[in-house]
Symmetry: C2
Subunit: 210 residues, 2 copies
Amino acid sequence: MQIAILLYDQVTALDAVGPYEVLSRFPGARTVFVGEKLGEVRTDIGTLGMTVDATLDEVLRPDVVLVPGGIGQQQHMLDGQVHEWLRAVDEHTTWTTSICTGSLILAAAGLLTGRRATSHWVRRDDLARYGAVPMHRRVVFDGKYVTGGGVSAGIDMALTLVDLMGGSELAQAIQCGIEYDPHPPYDAGAPDKVDPAIVAQLLTYKDVIF
Amino acid sequence: MQIAILLYDQVTALDAVGPYEVLSRFPGARTVFVGEKLGEVRTDIGTLGMTVDATLDEVLRPDVVLVPGGIGQQQHMLDGQVHEWLRAVDEHTTWTTSICTGSLILAAAGLLTGRRATSHWVRRDDLARYGAVPMHRRVVFDGKYVTGGGVSAGIDMALTLVDLMGGSELAQAIQCGIEYDPHPPYDAGAPDKVDPAIVAQLLTYKDVIF
């Protein structure tokens, strides 16, 4: 099983690495980080470089494709090489997936038209502009299209996918292997769980970091 | 505030990227990925390259140092450049931290002697061999030494650190910003939460992946 994870400049690192850490442990999985150009991309914060190991035209039949989000997503909303590649590989994928604002790229490429999908909560409703049906959920399945919420949601999305593909024992083994027993200091991971002032503050960064 | 994250070949990506995604959002933080040599390291699974942007001798006074784990940790258990650097920077850090088996490197460098610490559950008890006091907890504080459990525990560790350094509003804002509202399909993130057969299976991989 080949899993292709798209990288581009200003991607959010955890969007890609969360699911990578889960899906790469699936028996027989071969993960490949793909992009328009070989070599390094820099993440949204700018202080981490990650390597594109294969160009888009070198990865033609991935079984799973995953599109992470990040502020750089805004550079991939017009049709072009990335959209063409997504539409082409989607014809053969078992699962076409995204995390965070990666779903906006999938939607702009025409792959989520009329489908239920999610995104980072700050950008979720923007999906409607591109023909998708925004759902206020952390992981949304619509046929083979699987979209996850913001940044860290990729871990849950990937574990859910492993559960479907390989069964509950495998999903639990991988979860236990990466010791994913979350205990954040606060229950503050969604906008309805924090003070409205925090939500308002985060929304002021909407065009800068999401 | 400078945050130095150590990279080395066969590091576990999420060990580094989980805390990076949280700590880099701390106002005024400058994160730098450091290593013995500039350029790319490959992660434990081998299919992701991450970039070392500064050599150890270029980062002499980080405020926070973070040592991730991964199978490559086993190559850094003998004294040498990495241990010397850790001891030198530790003299000035506000926080000296690790995730997963990174704590074994800190302990081998002599920085956790007599201190309470944690690690990946598969390797936790090994800490005693290097003079630390193993604790079966996800995040352990002992003075300025903060150690996290396996792989994904770095997100919780980093949020706890942000809470201490910047207060609860900031910790909640960052948590909400990365939408860390965990909903894994199973409650299976620790060895006492899964079938003993799964634990036994994971332990057979002990020397290969942990």
